[in-house]
């Protein structure tokens, strides 16, 4: 028996809409974030197996996956339609633990919106296994999915002009960590010393799409 919950992640039966994006790319639109992640994982599996040559960029996003640099989008489009896409399994992708000091300026406000005391926030976040759904905004900024609906938050009404590098932040259905100082409107709950972006490292981004993330609590200083 499938509950509505498991049904929503069964991407194999989900409709897939292929939209044109110029003459060398396809924008593949899925029903939702879970389906987009499952499709992206399947695309990476097939690329790794060497059965999809000639793709330059694969850009996952919230509801879509962009496939760019195609010599023949028509044939890739026809092939994609034949795929059966299994839902994501919980242990897919590497797991990274990010130590967090819960010293963010919005911690009390977030706790209030969640209906708990601030000292419960580390445990609430730390109990979740999040997953990098996609990157954007800045090099190495990963949008972490996996927050239950009850923990979704609005952005701040007024964005900050400078959010420090390493800020652990929440907005909408996502969590994220600012790889460098930049303007931002997300709610800041803590700080990490983890290096999110290092161009001399391979890969340069700590949080590449498909990476699983767990926030662990580090003692305050």
């Amino acid at each position: 028996m499938s509950t509505s919950g498991t049904h929503a992640t069964d991407a194999s039966s989900a409709p897939l809409h292929i939209r044109p994006m110029g003459s060398h790319a396809l924008l593949i639109e899925l029903a939702g974030l879970a389906e987009a992640q499952a499709f992206h994982a399947e695309l990476l599996r097939r690329c790794a197996a060497g059965v999809l040559p000639g793709i330059r960029d694969i850009v996952p996003a919230a509801r879509t996956v962009l496939v760019d640099g195609l010599a023949d989008p028509q044939s890739i489009a026809a092939e994609v339609r034949t795929w059966r896409i299994p839902p994501l399994t919980a242990d897919e992708g590497p797991l990274i633990e990010i130590p967090v000091r819960y010293d963010g300026p919005d911690l009390a406000e977030v706790a209030g919106l969640w209906g708990m005391s601030p000292d419960r926030v580390p445990h609430t976040l730390g109990a979740l296994e999040l997953r990098v759904a996609f990157c954007g905004f800045a090099p190495g900024f990963g949008y972490l999915s996996g927050l239950p609906a009850a923990l979704h938050l609005p952005r701040r009404a007024t964005p900050r002009t400078a959010v420090p590098a390493g800020s652990v932040a929440l907005a909408g259905e996502y969590a994220g960590v600012y790889p460098r100082s930049s303007p931002g409107g997300w709610q800041l709950v803590g700080t990490t010393d983890a290096v999110l972006w290092d161009p001399r490292r391979e890969p340069a981004a700590l949080l590449a799409p498909g990476t699983r993330v767990r926030f662990t609590e580090e003692a305050g200083r």
């Binding site: 110029g22 790319a25 960029d57 996609f134």
Partner: protein, 303 residues
């Protein structure tokens, strides 16, 4: 031989001293394709054929880093033990070595200590200046390109900055002629509809096909902003961010189309009405503000 304003030949490798950076001069090569999934823009020369040709004229591999100037050229002093071969392509512009006229679109030997000046183009916007051996700014993710959106790569040129040059290869015979297409009075950009043309009214699609737009003065390496009639949306809900490509024509809330160029964001949350093919983007990058643009709208491919 060295010129009179050089006290002694430099000991180190060849380099450029920036004297006048112009409105905007950056180091550019073929950019960083393949890193979009990490949030890294593609970047690279906006006029790739001009970039490759400049390198060919000085005997460099085609993807070697060069200088890309904007609007009013650049002035650098060359420091080298032996003369450096230089070539200027892209927008045709006056080239001077220590004040003496030198050819555009051909290899030029620049001796140690000489001042190389590229002036304001007579047509077009961006000139490409290749140096034998290449501009050796530090590479990030395999590219020396300056990315103005994300800040990756070397900083734009500033007065007093020093850029090292690499070791030169043998200079091949120069081609007899350099192909160059003068920018037309009207920039016609084919536009393949999709992926989000259905977010616009039928009126908006007619307006796009039948009206002229002009290149905005705020156009830059991120996008060719335009001025003209507003495109009205049929849907007003929020579009979740999705992947973007070079040439994507995004329509922000002001309703004016923006043709994304090399430093475009990897994802965007405004609908893309259509895409300009890559082979027309060099012409788009050479269009000066005020140039008339006509979009030649083509039906979307059905998959």
């Amino acid at each position: 031989m060295s010129t009179e304003n050089t006290a002694e030949a430099p000991e180190g490798p060849a380099a450029l001293d920036v004297v006048r950076p112009g409105a905007l001069t950056t180091v550019q090569d073929a950019g960083r394709p393949g890193h979009a999934h990490l949030g890294v823009p593609r970047s690279g020369a906006l006029d790739p054929p001009a970039h490759r040709l400049a390198n060919r004229l000085v005997g460099n591999p085609p993807e070697t880093a060069v200088l890309e100037t904007t609007l009013d050229g650049v002035t650098v002093r060359v420091r080298a033990r032996t003369p450096v071969t230089v070539a200027v392509t892209g927008a045709p512009a006056p080239v001077r070595v220590d004040g003496r006229p030198a050819p555009w679109g051909a290899p030029v030997r620049v001796p140690d200590g000489a001042l190389l000046d590229i002036g304001r183009p007579t047509a077009g916007l961006r000139a490409y200046v290749a140096f034998a051996g290449g501009v050796c700014a530090e590479a990030v993710l395999g590219s020396r390109s300056t990315d103005l959106l994300s800040g990756l790569g070397p900083a734009p040129l500033a007065p007093g900055a020093v850029l090292p040059l690499g070791r030169a290869h043998a200079v091949p015979p120069a081609p007899d002629s350099v192909p160059w297409q003068a920018p037309p009075a009207e920039l016609v950009l084919p536009l393949l509809l999709g992926p989000r043309h259905d977010w616009f009214t039928a009126d908006a699609l007619r307006t796009l096909a039948s009206s002229g737009y002009r290149v905005s003065p705020s156009a830059n390496r991120i996008g060719l902003r335009t001025e003209g009639p507003v495109l009205t949306r049929a849907r007003h809900d929020e579009l979740p961010s999705e992947g973007m490509v070079w040439g994507a024509v995004q329509v922000p809330p002001d309703g004016l189309p923006v043709v994304f160029l090399a430093d475009h964001p990897v994802t965007g949350g405004y609908p893309v009405i259509g895409v300009v093919p890559e082979d027309r983007l060099p012409a788009a990058a050479q269009a000066v503000p005020g140039t008339l643009i006509r979009f030649d709208v083509r039906r979307p491919v059905r998959y």
